[in-house]
């Protein structure tokens, strides 16, 4: 089986497991929407402020709950499953790519629904071209955050305080993604170009992909 076929098969199985369990869309997403509602409740009837902070709250919740989505997938990846993959001769790099693919799809679905909820709840004034910019930013953000989540999930696999530790690793390292995603929308509002911010996210994604693929074998050994 080729590298890409292995990756796609891993992604397909991950998504099938997620479809059966439904943790992301049935638990994490509703929780994130509730968190989205907490901010307007705490601000009171400050409609102008609520409208203005909407996109920022979206990206803040995107990273916090996105980490849960990214780490949840690695939590489902048990030692037995890893051993089975190793016995079957699955390339560790293909495992990493497959996990990023499935996680990226889930993350994208999660963020798109969260963004729609944010628009409905906060009613932000979005400049023209916002939807395509947000979609591009969300895709690049999803890929990067999933890559980080996969790496952190592997590094902290089987440790006590795993969830807190992995979050501590992912959150600061995800900052270039948050800056790129939030500033691209901000730049659009100012009438400035979004290219530098898109390039920042793209460079982060590529750097993480290179590290993830390059470190796949040591990562596999690290979990033993």
């Amino acid at each position: 089986m080729s590298f890409w076929n292995q990756s796609l098969e891993i992604a397909r199985v991950d998504l099938r497991v997620e479809r059966r369990l439904g943790d992301t869309l049935r638990i994490v997403l509703p929780f994130a929407v509730v968190a989205l509602m907490v901010f307007p409740l705490s601000l009171g009837i400050e409609l102008a402020t609520i409208s203005r902070i909407g996109p920022a709250v979206f990206w803040a919740l995107g990273i916090l709950f996105g980490m849960q989505v990214a780490l949840r997938l690695s939590a489902a990846d048990t030692q037995e499953r890893r051993d089975l993959h190793a016995l079957l001769g699955v390339d560790p790099a293909a495992r990493f790519v497959g996990r990023v693919l499935s996680g990226g799809v889930l993350m994208l679905a999660f963020l798109v629904v969260l963004f729609i909820a944010m628009v409905l709840i906060y009613g932000p004034t979005l400049p023209s071209g916002s939807w395509s910019t947000v979609l591009l930013g969300t895709v690049l953000f999803s890929i990067g955050l999933t890559e980080l989540g996969t790496l952190a999930g592997e590094i902290t696999a089987g440790l006590r305080n795993r969830t807190a530790l992995a979050s501590l690793i992912v959150a600061p390292l995800a900052l270039p993604l948050v800056i790129g995603a939030s500033q691209s929308l901000e730049a659009l509002s100012r009438g400035a170009g979004i290219l530098p911010w898109v390039l920042l996210m793209l460079a982060t994604d590529l750097a993480l992909a290179v590290i993830g693929v390059g470190m796949a074998r040591p990562l596999e050994e690290a979990t033993r």
């Binding site: 530790l165 390292l173 800056i179």
Partner: protein, 236 residues
């Protein structure tokens, strides 16, 4: 131990010379005496960058050679780097309060990215504390050491990449923007802090070596007091 004492002695002497240069250099026309903070702030952050670079190098070498000394180097450098990042952040905040009128500006990429770098390496230390097995600890932290260093260039070049309140680098390929006396004082302090870094690294790696030796002894003691199997006890 004598080697470390000598290193700390040299570092103390170098720091005293650095202090003398810092206090005798002329103050900035606009910032006044607050400009002297640069003699601690810049060397601290220079060492933080150096320390995290050494952590990445140690991590790569451990993954390649699997020698414990590279893990000791990487972890010691990360700890010292976190210390110097903390000093750099604190001195920057003191200077910012005096000159900018506020200690922290969330809109400034250099400040926020430096704080992020601080937390990334706190995560590195937390990861090491969460693992007991030395080989697993070394392997996992080596991977994180390589991942974490990716953001270090972003921190350094953030003043060039983004619109920022923080000034750009004072020393550039085409020369310095600082008066000669202030530049000399800062460079003397950079050298003094670098010697201090070497001394701290030597001490920390020695402590790590002693900790490893103690751990091996503990394991031997644990084996010695293991209760015998019932089949070996006989009819007591």
């Amino acid at each position: 131990m004598t080697r470390i004492r000598v290193l700390f002695g040299v570092a103390a002497a170098a720091m005293a010379v650095g202090l003398w240069f810092a206090l005798t250099a002329p103050p900035d026309a606009l910032q006044g005496e607050y400009s002297r903070i640069i003699n601690v702030h810049v060397p601290s952050l220079w060492l933080a960058f150096l320390a995290f670079g050494v952590t990445a190098l140690g991590s790569i070498m451990w993954l390649w050679k699997k020698k414990q000394r590279w893990d000791r180097l990487a972890s010691a450098s990360a700890e010292v780097g976190v210390l110097f990042t903390g000093i750099g952040l604190f001195t920057g905040m003191v200077w910012g309060q005096a000159v900018w009128g506020r200690a922290w500006d969330w809109g400034d990429p250099r400040l926020t990215s430096t704080a992020v770098m601080f937390f990334v390496y706190l995560g590195y230390i937390a990861l090491r504390n969460a693992v007991d097995d030395p080989v697993v600890k070394a392997r996992r932290s080596a991977i994180l050491g390589v991942v974490a260093v990716v953001q270090v260039p972003l921190v350094y070049f953030s003043v060039n990449l983004f619109r920022t309140l923080h000034q750009t680098q004072s020393i550039r390929p085409d020369g310095s923007t600082m008066p000669a006396e202030m530049l000399v004082a800062m460079l003397v302090n950079v050298a003094a802090f670098t010697i201090l870094y070497v001394a701290l690294m030597a001490a920390r790696t020695d402590i790590a070596r002693i900790e490893e030796a103690n751990r091996e002894t503990e394991l031997l003691a644990g084996d010695a007091v293991k209760p015998p199997k019932l089949s070996e006890v006989g009819d007591v």
